[in-house]
Symmetry: C2
Subunit: 303 residues, 2 copies
């Protein structure tokens, strides 16, 4: 077993979700939640985040059950946990945000527990690039740093984001964000151009259409997993990242193909996430289910 350790800094939230398949009220969510839960099938992730006094003990127990280290999940006295409410369109590819209450997450300034500063693998979930940089400053010897970002930071903190990029091994972002960041219309050119901004590799997430990896060796392509019944797409991207980095952190095999294999694992874990509201589906699977689906997925790509 690898001695590598994985840390994620991200949000822990209550999500109220409406999709054509039903509703969920105050389901446990947030980028840190989905990432660490997905990664827990591969390694013992360290979760750093903040919640309010209203955060129930059963959620902490849920993390503990999957051996997620919540030493870094601080509870703010008198504060309320981040809340999000959204509604998905009938095609499940688009959604409207109906309500956002940042609450304690609005002033989140992550200070890592000293024991976490030796983490080798670091995931900076979507957040202000300034906060992401501050987190990275606290890691002594990072070996593999990946970050997610979004349109908000690309437009409002462009320079801060550009300053962060050279410090990353990998940047994850979605299709429209990649085009926005590079002011291009072609996704392949965009992926290659973002690499020139600093990160060693770039992963573009295309939702149901899969993902693409851009490295110095070229492009790698993964189609989406063919899901017959999407119940709730929330958390798919963070589950993808969690499966990816969890696998990467626990994989002792030689480098060529490691990142590709890890992306395939991320795809498969995310395919479980969308089959239920919140963590409902992930809660019901075991590592063997992931490996089995990975084999099936691989067989669907073979020609």
């Amino acid at each position: 077993m690898s001695k590598d350790t994985l840390i994620v800094v991200g949000s822990v939230a209550f999500d109220s979700i409406e999709t054509p398949r039903g509703n969920a009220d105050e389901a446990l969510g947030g980028s840190g939640t989905y990432f660490s839960y997905a990664a827990s099938y591969f390694t013992r992730p360290r979760l750093v985040g903040v919640v309010g006094e209203d955060f129930p003990d059963e959620h902490r127990q849920l993390f503990a059950k999957r051996q997620i280290d919540t030493t870094g999940l601080t509870s703010e006295k008198g504060g309320k946990t981040f809340r999000w409410r959204g509604r998905y369109h009938s095609d499940m590819n688009n959604r409207d945000t109906l309500e956002v209450h940042l609450n304690v997450f609005g002033t989140f300034n992550p200070v890592l527990p000293p024991a976490f500063c030796d983490s080798t693998h670091v995931f900076l979930a979507n957040g202000s690039p300034l906060i992401q940089a501050k987190v990275l400053d606290q890691i002594k010897k990072p070996q593999m740093v990946m970050a997610d970002t979004m349109d908000l930071w690309i437009s409002t903190m462009h320079n801060e984001l550009l300053a962060l990029l050279p410090r990353l091994d990998g940047l994850l972002l979605n299709e429209s964000e990649a085009l926005m960041l590079t002011k291009d219309h072609n996704l392949i050119r965009a992926g290659m151009a973002i690499r020139k901004l600093g990160p060693k590799f770039v992963i573009i997430k295309k939702g149901e259409h899969g993902s693409m990896l851009f490295t110095q060796d070229g492009v790698f392509l993964l189609p989406g997993y063919p899901t017959e019944e999407v119940i709730d797409p929330t958390g798919a991207g963070d589950s993808f990242a969690g499966g990816l980095m969890g696998q990467l952190c626990s994989d002792d095999s030689p480098p060529p193909g490691r990142l590709r294999r890890a992306m395939a694992y991320g795809t498969v874990v995310a395919s479980f996430t969308v089959e239920g509201f919140g963590l409902d589906r992930l809660k019901k699977i075991e590592r063997a289910d992931i490996d089995k689906r990975l084999e099936h997925y691989k067989s669907m790509l073979d020609f």
Copy 2:
């Protein structure tokens, strides 16, 4: 070499195209043109279509040069060739049709040359399902019949299309058309549901996002070829079909995987088509270029 023979019945047209990369005026196009040209790298396709008196001899010579049999390409005296004018949006995924003049294609009622009625592989390019059925009636012993369709026929000739489907081995259609035909929002369910309407397999084309195959054995996934510079997407779908059926017709290997491999060839041929206006790019390649790119494509999918 296989004794199988491939026939395509489709349009031959003059396309005037505007894309963000430039313009083409009255470029040789149409589904029958792109299909047969793409297929000519694998076999000697038979092209059935109609043109007007204005169809220049150099275009016939172009077909002859690639050993496309144009015995079935009739010229209508006093008639004018089908003309289409369109403009692509900046993302190249959407286009506006500015002008359509069906001309001689408007009354096209294909009668196959007797020598063509022994064709084993049949491609019914996009057209009225009534005409498609009439073509199929003329083939003595079809072994592999594939058809393309579009939103227009799904809405205006629904019953005629449903009557054709059980006569097909494979139906090709794009993403939005598959959802329209099944009144579903999920592409995987749609692909499986269309199979229940009759065809042995269904291929859903997703443009830059690749394609999916649905058979009795399950789903097969192919990502799009990562093209850095799309010049003109016109004809990509018909080139895909042409490469696919050309390869299928010339491949003597055992069935498992044949269809998948053929789809990969179709993907690669289409990736050349979009690198130039009309047939510009395809005209410049040889079979070895296709094989080389196929190997590269395969390497981009390997994990």
